[in-house]
Assembly symmetry: C2
Homo-oligomer: 215 residues x 2
């Protein structure tokens, strides 16, 4: 059995190759790329649309999360052997590192892969469309944001419940548990939840106004 | 190892007790109960609300599916040992029979249980609320139907993708595969999909009308 840093220790990962990059390098590159994406998605809509500051924040969020779904999570879904990568390829490095917080990525657990597949193929493009819909003030902008945020939230719920049912023993240490498994996922619990509430209200208000008009 | 009728044959189910009721008895009771629920949910709104025929059909659907989620699927979620039942209890009989189409119920597979947990605890009550919201013409009726139908559809997608990723070998025979695993689930693919499209359009139309009014 290969030696690996993941939990449980008896997880069989033949051909495992350790990280080439340090955690701080991986996180630093991720942070820099995120800042670049957020800056561009903050500035661009200001040039072409009448989006308010709050709407520009939403555009930033949907662009950021959409690209993560399609690029970072997309790489994982279609690269079950990422843990064998010998080239130091950045996306393989990310998932080797994140697997310390949840080894179900390294073991290509079917529940995790199912959620990630829906997330990268459906939610990723839908996020970018939501960013466009907000900038262009399309009439489907609220229902699309609700669709995406419900999908993200449901995916996170399944992600956590499956782990709990299987004993919640997939983190290499409490640090990785709280930093990666809980911390890194927390924006996808909080922000979609807030967007769901906002869109729900907007849709009900709109329907309520039309109802009064009809009466 | 106990002898059981499920696939794969090497699935370990210590203490398994075979069905007491025949498949036709189980399905007959289910059909009779369904007809009763559908008839009551068709007649009741006609007495108390101005729901159209189409809305009454939706009320029937949401009452029917909500009760299945809460009662039948609720029993499964909180009865991991149903396959050991020696009393011929009807809900245990249902799941012993359905497991011939998908043994992940008998083995209490974590992905299946996660989806069923969300379905019975969240979607079940939300379905009954949706039936009420349609009858009472509440302004949240479309967004709630969309919420429920998206949740049902997402759950079904995860249900099938996890099975495919694990080899799709959980049916005792092609008959059980097509009758139970595909056939019995097909309404929860088709009907939520149609309701999602309808509610999406209704919400966009409502938002479009308000946009024109503002301009």
């Amino acid at each position: 059995m290969e030696v690996h840093p993941y939990s449980p220790k008896d997880l069989n990962l033949p051909g495992f190759v350790p990280n080439f990059l340090s955690a701080s390098t991986i996180l630093g590159v991720f942070a820099a790329a995120s800042i670049f994406v957020l800056a561009v998605s903050w500035i661009l809509p200001g040039l072409f649309s009448k989006a308010t500051k709050f709407e520009k924040l939403l555009i930033c969020w949907f662009t950021f999360t959409g690209l993560i779904h399609m690029v970072v999570e997309g790489y994982f879904v279609f690269s079950p052997d990422f843990y064998k990568d010998k080239t130091g390829f950045y996306f393989a490095e990310i998932w080797k590192e994140y697997s310390k917080g949840d080894s179900r990525y390294a073991s290509y657990d079917s529940a995790v892969v199912s959620v990630e597949l829906v997330t990268c193929v459906v939610m990723g493009p839908a996020c970018l469309l939501a960013a466009y819909a907000i900038a262009a003030q399309k009439s489907y902008r609220y229902v699309l944001q609700l669709f995406v945020s419900l999908g993200q939230f449901y995916g996170l719920v399944i992600y956590y419940i499956t782990a709990i049912l299987e004993g919640d023993h997939f983190s290499a240490s409490p640090l990785y548990y709280y930093a990666y498994y809980i911390g890194a996922n927390s924006p996808w619990g909080l922000i979609p939840f807030l967007i769901i509430i906002r869109c729900w209200r907007k849709i009900c208000e709109s329907e309520g106004r039309n109802k009064r008009k009809r009466q």
